[in-house]
């Protein structure tokens, strides 16, 4: 039904419906399934997200590469000390993002959102806002539906893969999807949701994908933590009425062009960037020798 941000705005305004409803109606049509079947699947997604975003706080299972671990617990302790710089919302969101990242890196069950490497961002945003604002599970599901529409448009017109477009594509898409979800959950308009998505993408435009030793651990987990914060502040800006100067579809195209231009050393090959630093290379060698 919709293939662009422009389509989303047009359909939502013509039918006078929110983005989540458009996403749901299109999915029913595209996959020949019923609304209840789609919602059942989405509840399963939310269930997996809930688990992954809490498992890493208590679970000390070692990650495969052993590069990361324990970040989520550290943030939790700081949160409990009530002596934080960024306050409970931001810290809770980071804690959850770190949790899913660690869970993923230690072979836990996650929902790729839109990828495994960026899987911490959307759960952290949606679940933190749900809890902090006393929202219901139904609101979280509406948030996820909204995020899926944004992710679909980015996939169709650009890419969400780090190997194809760098981290700006992967964590960029995740943050854009998450920010749109949050705007929806807090009662913003479809225009605001896409403004938030545009701002999120722009905030990390050009970011390279440079995982140490080629593993989904560092700097990935910290980019999940900063990714959810990016999503939250972008949603805040949009809800305050700050507009994206450049429309969503043009931002997505710009991101794609940069992704294509990006040297292959910076697209998941673990050659350049953080992976290519002397310490990064040393860590890689040590892992090899295990």
């Amino acid at each position: 039904m919709y293939r662009s941000g422009k389509d989303i705005i047009k359909f939502c305004s013509d039918k006078n419906i929110p983005i989540w409803k458009l996403a749901l109606e299109s999915e029913v049509e595209d996959t020949n399934s019923s609304e209840s079947e789609v919602m059942k699947k989405m509840r399963e997604v939310l269930k997996v997200m809930k688990k992954s975003s809490t498992a890493g706080v208590k679970n000390n299972r070692k990650t495969l590469g052993g590069i990361i671990g324990g970040e989520s617990l550290k943030i939790k302790k700081r949160l409990e000390s009530k002596d934080t710089l960024c306050g409970p919302l931001i810290n809770k969101a980071m804690m959850k993002a770190f949790s899913t990242s660690q869970h993923n890196a230690s072979m836990g069950k996650i929902c790729a959102a839109p990828t495994a490497g960026s899987s911490g961002i959307i759960p952290a945003a949606v679940l933190t806002v749900m809890e902090e604002f006393d929202l219901k599970e139904g609101d979280a599901l509406k948030g996820l539906l909204t995020s899926s529409a944004v992710g679909k448009v980015i996939t169709i017109n650009a890419t969400v893969s780090g190997a194809e477009g760098g981290c700006q594509a992967e964590c960029g898409a995740a943050a854009a999807m998450a920010s749109a979800a949050v705007v929806e959950m807090l009662g913003g308009t479809p225009e605001m949701a896409l403004d938030a998505a545009s701002i999120s993408l722009k905030n990390i435009m050009g970011l390279v994908c440079d995982p140490i030793a080629g593993l989904v651990e560092s700097p990935c987990s910290k980019r999940n933590a900063s990714g959810v914060v990016n999503a939250l502040i972008s949603a805040e800006m949009a809800l305050a009425g700050i507009k994206s100067v450049i429309p969503f579809d043009e931002v997505v195209e710009a991101m794609y062009i940069i992704g294509k231009d990006m040297h292959s050393d910076y697209k998941e090959t673990a050659k350049g960037g953080i992976a290519g630093t002397p310490t990064g290379i040393k860590i890689k060698e040590n892992i090899k020798n295990i």
Binding site: I110, A113, V160
Partner: protein, 229 residues
């Protein structure tokens, strides 16, 4: 740029981490190899090529392939423990890094020896997002995704054999989605790869097996179907 059929391609798949291509895709390749070999697996040798060889350990690629060979789905929590489970089943599994003559960096060649000594080989690549393409089965060049029910025949290249096979499928009300016929280098042995919309029962496969000049028939279940471990 690619089409999206369902929003669950964007919010999904639900999988065991850490990587859709190195873990989820690897499990799918293992599962297709299991379907090709069916039962009585005794020994497995897996050649890992490219990025599978280089970063496979850090991505749980070996565990994922073993899990697939046990019939597990990419979201099965037991995937983490698959190398122990496969040992408990008295299946001998061994992995080696090897440069294979393939184009894709995430490729594995799986060689299965069955209890009666029969060998089955499957080569396939993980092409991103958990999707796979199998390029070789038992020495025949194929191209299959595991999304369809697939029948693969090995037969003597004789006139009318394609008609016989498609005739049986038509009688059983099975619709062919894709079909490819290839002939071996010696021009004697040939193979059909038939992807169908319906699941074909074992009785039908047995009928195809009995066709004159047919040497072997294997079938691959669509990867979405659950399977017992």
């Amino acid at each position: 740029m690619k089409d999206v059929n369902s929003i669950f391609e964007v919010l999904g798949p639900i999988m065991i981490g850490p990587s859709s291509s190195h873990t989820a895709g690897a499990a799918r390749l293992g599962k297709i190899a299991r379907y090709a070999a069916q039962k009585d697996i005794k020994k497995i040798l897996v050649y890992l090529h490219g990025s599978f060889a280089e970063t496979g350990d850090g991505h749980g690629t070996k565990k994922a392939i073993a899990a697939g060979l046990l019939g597990m789905e990419p979201y099965d929590e037991r995937l983490r423990n698959s190398l122990n489970i496969i040992k408990e089943r008295d299946i001998d599994i061994h992995f080696e890094s090897k440069e294979l003559e393939v184009n894709h960096p995430n490729t594995a060649m799986i060689i299965i020896e069955k209890k009666k000594g029969e060998k089955v080989t499957v080569t396939g690549s993980s092409i991103g997002g958990g999707a796979v393409t199998v390029t070789e089965i038992n020495g025949f060049n194929v191209e299959l995704s595991g999304d369809y029910y697939t029948i693969i025949t090995k037969h003597i290249d004789a006139k009318g054999i394609i008609r016989d096979v498609t005739g049986i499928l038509a009688e059983e009300g099975v619709n062919i989605a894709n079909m490819k016929v290839v002939r071996g280098y010696d021009k004697k042995e040939a193979s059909m790869v038939i992807e169908t919309d319906e699941i074909v029962g074992e009785k039908v496969v047995d009928k195809i097996k009995k066709i004159k000049n047919m040497t072997d028939v294997i079938y691959i279940l669509p990867i979405k179907e659950n399977d017992d471990v």
